[in-house]
Amino acid sequence: MSDTHAQSVAFVRRSEIPPAPPPARETGAVKWVRENLFSGAFNSIMTIVGLLIVFYLLSGLIPWILNGTWEGSDIRDCREILGNSGGGCFAVLAERWPQLLFGFQYPDYLRWRPTLAFVLLAVALPPALFAMYLPRWTLAATALYPFAAYWLIWGGTILAPVVAALGILAGYLVFKAIEKRGFVTALAAGAATAFIVWWIGGLIVGEFPRMLSIEPVPSRQMGGFMLNLILGVICVSLSIPLGIVLALGRQSRLPIVKGFCVVFIEFVRGVPLITLLFVANVVLAYFLPPDANFDLIIRVIIMITMFASAYIAEVIRGGLAALPKGQYEAADSLGLDYPQAMRLIILPQALKISIPGIVNVAVGLFKDTTLVSVISMFDLVGMIRGPILSSTDWVGVYWELWAFACLLFFVVCYGISQYSQWLERQLTTDHR
């Protein structure tokens, strides 16, 4: 065969042609752009429109940031410095950032204390958040943190947080000691022990109010982003356990427990948070005697926690309902009693399903803490709306302040959301 062809063909290639590079329009960035941005007339138009919008936004934003001034003592100064450059008056941040972060009443020489508490949060959170990678004993740091943080932020004698911690510790030990006799009995005994310790401790604290005391700061002086963080962290961490209890209570077979939980959840969910805050601030003031100084922050924490726990209870109820009935029956067939079944079999699965919902509530709750500005507490939003925007110096500096607030909230909320996605991936046990 080859012989015949040898006469009819002028040239026979004996080596392979080196592969030519693919056509320029089918490779690399050009291909990506063609396929993703200009794959048709309509998409091309959309791409161009999109680019124009991005360009328009950046052409305003970049000069605003780059030409902005950090100098100047009031808005009139700022305008003089800026002229027509279109820059932002960031001098307001340079002058007022401590007020935005700590409120305007927190004593300035004590600001290191909440700052330290915030830094310690970075030590206290990982044992709880990354429990699967850290040894269990590190959880002690998490358990100690609330008391340390309280002492740092509010000040006063160290005895108060120590007594509070001792009460919980004693209650926990008693609970552990008689847990075998039944969960509910142990829980009741533990709670009783804690109350006894607190009661005795309260007397002792009353005797030595000055022992190891650092300068106390009243709640009224809390403010700024610190207040949002305090409210957010406390209310989220309190409302999750409370929400679990409410969700279980709602499924209980005991009519009184069930009735109470249903009424509580439905009532709180049916009322706007801002109404609860007004009740905490205004209406309670009428019913309490004038010299009863029931701390405003505690009132607000109670209200926000109630609100969030009702929502979390419903999220967890969804998780409980999603479990197949066989799981409950399996727990029963193993001879586990109710607390054991819940702790060992039902809740671990139900909570895993509920993570996205719980995080959703937590992020929403954190942003809802800004509502306290309407009852004249100076959180970040309250600081901006009240004292700063209506000061003679900075009246009219809207964008810079609100952008700063957005940035702070975005960082925290985005962090929470990223963590929850990571946690979901970690807990995935099905093989999808």
Partner: protein, 339 residues
């Protein structure tokens, strides 16, 4: 029906709370600080500065009362209140005096059971327009679009004024003051109306304040003053006469600079002597030291000084005295005799 029962309960509880604290003066002295309700911020009237110290025209009243009662102008716990929380804060006893540019009206005085201790600022509703509009009087505003804050008395005053003058207007209702200003600057309306002091304060924050004029007409009466609860006349007297002392001090030429000197020895003017406690026993008639007025004046200055320092011509707000001048100079300030 239900609502009135509820309100009745609230009111009864409020009365019970008030009845329990009729002795405000001894409460304040025992506590060592005065709880004074202020705004969450109105330029010039009450605003915390960069160090967190409250400054302003209303704040000066708090400091003067604290100086008169406790001898220390810094012994004040400022309780910031919003328009919604101010009255409950006072009625429930959380604050001893409310100095939060609050208009003295009939129903607030009687129905809400407060006592206005006097007037520290005579305000009134005015109009601001862009200078380029070429308007020089409110009577030329027929057919204008007007930015107003909803739910305020300004809305009603505006309707009344235009009806009386047989003119029409297009209202642009907006929730808050700062929002209204933004809308006005963005050209959503031709005219912005609110109290004149607020107009001046807002204008001070504009990029080009001179491009906007405040029209000469004042269409409403807004007498602003400090107020206390019903039922404690001794405390009412103290706040009222502290305010009068500041006003009288300006009339007699007593300032924060010369008050020490004038109070060190009796002067030729017996009225000044009685005011400053070098003659007579005016202070002890109210249960205070005889140097009460001297302390108040030394702490904040007389009325004119307070005005000039916070909202007067030399400040960014730049309000003229107008009605708030002494009666001897054509204003309405008239302190009763110290005798």
């Amino acid at each position: 029906m239900k609502k009135s029962v509820f309100l009745g309960t609230v009111a009864a509880a409020g009365l019970a709370a008030v009845g329990a604290s009729a002795q405000t003066l001894s409460d304040v002295q025992e506590r060592g600080t005065l709880n004074c309700g202020v705004t969450t911020g109105v330029p010039g009237f009450a605003e915390p500065d960069a160090d967190g110290v409250w400054q302003g025209f209303d704040v000066a009243v708090c400091r003067a009362v604290a100086a008169a009662v406790l001898g220390d102008p810094t012994a004040v716990t400022f309780v910031p209140t919003t328009g919604k929380t101010r009255f409950t804060a006072l009625a429930s006893g959380e604050i001893d005096v409310l100095a939060r540019n609050t208009t003295w009206t009939f129903s607030r005085d009687t129905d809400l059971k407060f006592d206005f201790t006097g007037i520290n600022y005579y305000d009134g509703q005015g109009f601001m327009v862009p200078a380029s509009l070429g308007v020089s009087s409110a009577t030329e505003l027929d057919g204008a679009t007007i930015c107003i804050q909803t739910g305020t008395t300004t809305e009603l005053n505006l309707a009344d004024y235009f009806r009386v003058n047989n003119m029409s207007y297009e209202p642009v209702p907006i929730e808050t003051g700062s929002e209204s200003v933004q809308q006005y600057l963005a050209g959503a309306c031709d005219v912005y109306t609110t109290d004149r002091s607020a107009l001046a304060a807002q204008r001070a924050g504009f990029a080009n304040p001179d491009d906007h004029v405040i029209l000469p007409e004042t269409i409403s009466k807004e007498p602003l003053g400090p107020l206390v609860r019903h039922g404690d006349s001794e405390w009412f007297d103290i706040v009222k006469w502290t305010l009068n002392a500041l006003i009288a001090a300006e009339e007699y030429g007593v300032t924060s600079e010369n008050v020490e000197e004038m109070a060190s020895a009796p002067t030729d003017n017996p009225e000044i002597n009685r005011l400053l406690g070098t003659e007579g026993e005016l202070g002890s008639m109210m249960g205070l030291e005889n140097s009460w007025a001297k302390n108040a004046i030394a702490a904040v200055g007389n009325y004119g000084e307070v005005f000039d320092e916070n909202i007067g011509d030399d400040t960014a707000i730049g309000l003229a005295r107008g009605l708030n001048a002494q009666y001897t100079e054509g204003g309405l300030l008239y302190a009763p005799p110290f005798r």
